[in-house]
Symmetry: C2
Subunit: 210 residues, 2 copies
């Protein structure tokens, strides 16, 4: 009996269902907001009865909290692309690439994150004050060192980081507006490459490394 044929164990079923629900929830929370989302909508999108959601996630808030945390993990993972670089051009360039790729692959997650922060971070505030604050201070120090070594222009590291976040996430959070201004069509592969190149060129020239 192969692994594929073997009936799923209890824990496998749980993992599978939870992932299915989380995926549906991410989409609904992104499209309707926390207040606008309903457990019924999420259940319908997941193809499960509503009561089933409450079996896996006690409350709507528990489900939402898990969605937000998942996105934060993806962010943190991508942040590593900046750490391994030898200098500003490679480091910041790679970070832009990674963030743009997340905007393309996880637009729903980005919107949920944006909505959460806009509403005062009711469930993720502790992460902002610990993990994000530590990461930001660490990266700001790296950028400041590059500046002090004369390897890039003298800019406030924090405002540079804000610009990196704002610009890359804009392609996910305001994707609907961009699509409308693109004649109602989603960006093609080529247009995504143009976007990535434009952002990288503008910012890398802005910090004086090209």
């Amino acid at each position: 009996m192969t692994a594929a044929e073997r009936p799923l164990r209890r824990t496998d079923i749980r993992r599978e269902r939870e992932a299915l629900i989380l995926q549906a929830a991410e989409k609904v929370f992104a499209e309707a907001g926390f207040g606008g989302a309903t457990m019924q909508l999420i259940a319908d999108m997941a193809g499960l009865p509503k009561a089933n959601l409450h079996y896996y996630f006690a409350t709507k808030e528990d489900l939402y909290r898990q969605v937000v945390r998942n996105i934060f993990e993806i962010w943190l993972h991508a942040a590593g692309s900046m750490d391994e670089a030898a200098g500003p051009a490679e480091g910041i360039g790679a970070y832009i690439d990674a963030k743009m790729e997340i905007s393309r692959r996880h637009p729903h997650g980005s919107k949920v994150w944006a909505s959460e922060v806009m509403h005062g971070a009711p469930v993720i505030q502790d992460y902002l004050e610990t993990t994000l604050r530590d990461w930001t201070e660490g990266r700001a120090r790296v950028i400041q060192r590059w500046i002090d070594e004369g390897r890039m222009a003298r800019v406030d590291p924090r405002h540079l980081l804000y610009m990196l976040w704002a610009t890359t996430q804009h392609y996910a959070d305001f994707g609907h507006q961009i699509e409308t201004l693109n004649g109602g069509k989603p960006l093609s592969d080529r247009q995504w490459k143009d976007a990535k190149d434009s952002v990288k060129t503008l910012i890398l020239r802005g910090i004086g490394v090209i």
Copy 2:
């Protein structure tokens, strides 16, 4: 009898009450989202009984629609700062100044707009397809002309506009995150000036005019 002493006319009362309700609604919609906002919350913030809101605005959606349109008007008005400029440095610099000022003075409005677009622009889609599209095409042509005349670096005008919107609005939409990373304190006058200068320096150098 002076104008100040004269009892308000019906239309004056209406204007006054509508403005009061709209101001309260903008704040509540920004902080809770459309779905999370309740007429009761808005009524309490305006200091009026809930039924009074329904007298001036038939439905919650009508009230929301008016809030979104008000913000859009502010945006359009600020857009003029770019039109009267002689060249890219003045035009784009003035536009950044104006947008940063709006982010500071109207953070609630900016968030309501962001939320509306993130959810697919259910009430403002027609404006995106007409007014915003026309404005964007017009500005893109101006930027393209500056490029063709060799007055700034060769960048995709649309992606430059997206970067301008993203970066300036980030200070309103993600103000809570920025405040948290600032030690939990709102940006001071001096820090707002630093932010504005940082954004302008980065972008103007990015387009090769400084």
